[in-house]
Structure formats: structure tokens, C-alpha cells
Amino acid sequence: MVKKMRDEVWFPQVIWNSTIEDLDNDNLKSYVYEKVEEEKINPPLGKPNLPWHSVDLIVEENVEVKKLVDILNEKMYIICEDVGLHPVQLYDIWANVNPPGVGNQLHAHIPAIFSGVYYLDAEQGQGDIVFERDDGGQTCLPALVKEPSPFNQKLITYKSETDLCYIFPGWFKHRVTENTSNKDRLSISFNYGFKRG
């Protein structure tokens, strides 16, 4: 009998997913819309006029934001231990309000080591998050594969659903599909990395 070849996995992209159910999402939503209204009255200098709203959140300003960050800090500590990194710290946290008809183009979160999203108010049809392969495999792999596997896919879609939280490498390119519903999709995004400067 022929001995099976040994296989070793290198350089995968990682997505950590979980559900966060301990937050008062109504309180968070009110806070996010307050920030959106504030920005409408006093738009930050140089901020482009986009079809969606993206507002920075201030941790000390809202108890639910503080709770969320505490939960995320715990998750990041575990992740860093798992992947062999020294503990990271929060770089920034912001809310996204995607109205009907809006999505987000492909992007990465330079220079964050980890980025992520928590869905405050989202459901199927409001815009899933799509992660795209960028290691060259996307140009070499056949268009049709026998059986989808993490090895042979060119992109992977994760659903947006209230309370879900995804954490991923900051370099992992992703986009958000169009909100095809008739109401806003609300999410909170965040970046973690090493102390700057």
C-alpha cells in the first residue's frame, strides 16, 4: 500500500466568529443615530460625503460601547494567545449605517493586525460580508471545482445578522454586498493592533 503524503497547511486566512448577546442593542442604536445627527450638524473637516454614514464611537461616552469593547478585549486576548502574538490594543471603533441600496467596496484595514465587525441591526438581504482571496490562487484555480473547500474557493461569504461578531486579519480584503432591504443596516467595526509610535 502506498503511504499517504504528509500535508501541512501554511498561511491561511482566519475568521473567528461568535455571537455577543449581552448588549443592549436598542441603547447602542440610539447612540449611533445620535452620533450620525451630530455629524450632520457639525461635519468633520475633510470628511467625504458618502452614501453611508460612518461615525467614530467614543468608548467612555456610552456604557454599551464600553461593554462591547470589554468583550472584544477579552476575545482579542484569547486570539493573540492562540496565534502567537503579544496582546493587541484597540486602535479605533466606529459605527456604520448602510441605508437601502448601499454596499461597501473591497478594502483592507491597514495597518491593523485584527479587524472585525459586530452587527447591531442586520439581517439577510441587508448586505453580507464577502472575503476575497489575494494570494494568487484566485488567478490559478479553475472556475469550476469538484467540491468547494477552503483550499479551492476564491471568495467566502459570511452572513450579516444581529448579534454576530466576526474577527479577521486586518489585511484580509473584504466588501459588503448591497443592502436590498428597505431599512438601515447597522454594524460596529473595529481595529486592533500594537501600540503606535
Binding site: K3, M5, D7, F11, V14, G84, H86, I113, G136, P142
Partner: protein, 193 residues
């Protein structure tokens, strides 16, 4: 609530040590081939790379192809790829001081190398991460893991066989010995592509 971890788009390197080829015969044939075939210059610095070897030209290469094709079939099945067929196979003779620059095998799906006469000092193969993570990850990490590593080095040693995704960038270290390093490389792609 606990986090669920999912790994996407991994690069897989398959390895084994095989005994189906008579390396003494193949080595002899390699030098004969070098005399007859001027070869080509691609990623090889100061090394010899033959033009593609055709079926029936060398009994030992045919034996190797038969074995590799069977292994490729298993690898492809494991990761959900369609049936692949050999695209080309060639010979490399890296004399002392020679090496191969970083490259990939675009146009193929699985590639690989078999070592006819090689040792670790003669130039290991190094696979490099190419997803941009190196611009983000710190130079010093607490420990090297699947997440933090930027390079995977595999030893060049006689009878070793490595198969890897064709898009996985790799280079060959310099031959630091005083004898030639001989290997055979190959590409597999979609059938009838």
C-alpha cells in the same frame, strides 16, 4: 460565548520520501541530457534548467511521472480539485553557488519537485507568504505559528517529493556545497485546459 475559528485559502504543502526511481540511473541521464540540451534561463541563477522532458525520453522520469500522477490525484481529491494532468516536467542541475529566484508557476494548479541528488546544504526550498500579511505583522512575535509565519522552508534531500499550489511563491537557497544539486520539477493543470 466561545469563538469558532475557520481557516480559509490555506496553502498546502504535501511531502513524502519515495523509492520508485533509480536515482543513480536518473543522475547519469541528467548529465547526458545537459550535454545535449542547452536548456533555458528562467528563475535559475548559474544553474542548469533543461527544456521540457517528453514522455518516453527517460525510463526513470516516466516512472516518476506515473508515481507523481497518482499522488497528484490524491492531493486534488483531498482539496476538492478536478482531475489534473501533467503539463510539463524538467530537470534542474544547480552547481555550487547557484540558486533560483522567487517565482511561482502561474498557469498551473499543482506543482512540485523531486530530489534526485540533494542535501540540505545544497539549497532548501522556501515558500513565501504573499497575502500582504508581512506588512502588518510585527517582526518579533511571541511564537511562530500558522498565523504569524511568513515563510516555510523544506529541506532539499534525495528522494524527497514535495507538491504545492502553483501560485505559492518559492525560491531555492544557494548551493553551499561543492557538488551539484539535481532535482526534477513538474506542473499539473486542468485536464484538456
Amino acid at each position: 460565548m466561545a469563538m469558532h475559528t475557520e481557516l480559509w485559502f490555506p496553502s498546502v504543502v504535501w511531502s513524502s520520501v519515495i523509492h520508485v526511481v533509480d536515482n543513480t540511473e536518473l543522475k547519469k541521464w541528467a548529465y547526458e541530457r545537459k550535454r545535449k540540451d542547452r536548456g533555458r534561463a528562467l528563475t535559475n541563477f548559474a544553474g542548469y534548467q533543461s527544456n521540457d522532458i517528453l514522455s518516453g525520453e527517460c525510463e526513470q522520469i516516466d516512472k516518476l511521472v506515473e508515481h507523481v500522477s497518482s499522488e497528484i490525484k490524491s492531493c486534488a481529491k483531498q482539496v476538492g480539485l478536478p482531475v489534473l494532468e501533467i503539463q510539463n516536467i524538467w530537470l534542474n542541475i544547480n552547481p555550487p553557488g547557484s540558486y533560483n529566484n522567487l517565482h511561482d508557476h502561474v498557469g498551473s494548479i499543482l506543482s512540485g519537485v523531486y530530489y534526485v541528488d540533494a542535501s540540505e546544504k545544497q539549497g532548501n526550498i522556501q515558500f513565501e507568504r504573499s497575502d500582504g500579511a508581512n506588512y502588518f505583522l510585527p517582526e518579533v512575535v511571541e511564537k511562530v505559528t500558522y498565523f504569524t509565519s511568513g515563510r516555510a522552508t523544506y529541506a532539499s534531500k534525495s528522494q524527497a517529493l514535495y507538491i504545492f499550489p502553483s501560485w505559492l511563491k518559492h525560491s531555492v537557497q544557494g548551493n553551499q556545497s561543492n557538488t551539484d544539486r539535481i532535482s526534477v520539477s513538474f506542473n499539473y493543470g486542468e485536464k484538456n485546459a
